[in-house]
Symmetry: C2
Subunit: 100 residues, 2 copies
C-alpha cells in the first residue's frame, strides 16, 4: 500500500495565500485590480522592483490563473496583464482585507 494519507492540508485558503506571498505579488495583484498592467510601466511604477522579480511574479500569477497575458498588436508591440475570472474572485478577499 502507498503512503498513509498525511494531511498535506493544503486548503484553498492556504493555496491562495501561498500564491500571493512573495515580495511583489500582493502589490502587483492590487494594481491589477485597477486595470491592465504593462511590464515597463510597472518597472517605473513599482518602487524598487527589478525586471527579473516582476517577470517571475507576473509569470506565477499567470500560471496560477489569476492574471491573463494578452498580446496587443500595436506599433512597438504591447503585452497586457489583466485580471482573469479567477483573479476577480479575489476582489472580495481584498475588500475584506482592507477592514482588518
Amino acid at each position: 500500500m502507498g503512503k498513509v494519507q498525511k494531511s498535506e492540508s493544503i486548503c484553498p485558503a492556504e493555496e491562495v495565500l501561498k500564491i500571493l506571498s512573495g515580495k511583489w505579488k500582493p502589490q502587483l495583484f492590487k494594481l491589477a485590480l485597477d486595470g491592465p498592467l504593462r511590464f515597463n510601466s510597472l518597472l517605473r511604477q513599482v518602487e524598487g522592483a527589478n525586471k527579473q522579480s516582476l517577470a517571475t511574479s507576473l509569470k506565477e500569477l499567470v500560471d496560477e490563473g489569476f492574471l491573463n497575458k494578452v498580446v496587443i498588436r500595436v506599433k512597438p508591440l504591447h503585452i497586457e496583464y489583466t485580471l482573469s475570472e479567477k483573479g476577480k474572485s479575489l476582489i472580495p478577499v481584498f475588500k475584506q482585507l482592507e477592514c482588518v
Copy 2:
C-alpha cells in the same frame, strides 16, 4: 528637506498578506480559528514543522496582534495561543478565500 514621499504603498491588505506569508503561518492561523494552540501539540500536529519555525511564526503572529499568548498556571505550566480581536477580524477573509 527629507525624502520625497515615495509610495511605500503598504496598504492594509498588503500588510496582512505579508504577516500571513511564510511556510507555516497560514496553517497556524487556520488552526487558531478552531481553538487555542499549544506548542508541543502543534509540533506533533503540524506535519513537518520544527520547534524553531513554530516559535518564530507564533511570535510574529503575537507581535502583530493576531494571536494572544496566554499563560495557564496548571501542573506543568501551559501556554495557549488564542485568536485576538484583530485575529478574529480575519475570519471573513478566510471565509472569502475558501470561495476562490
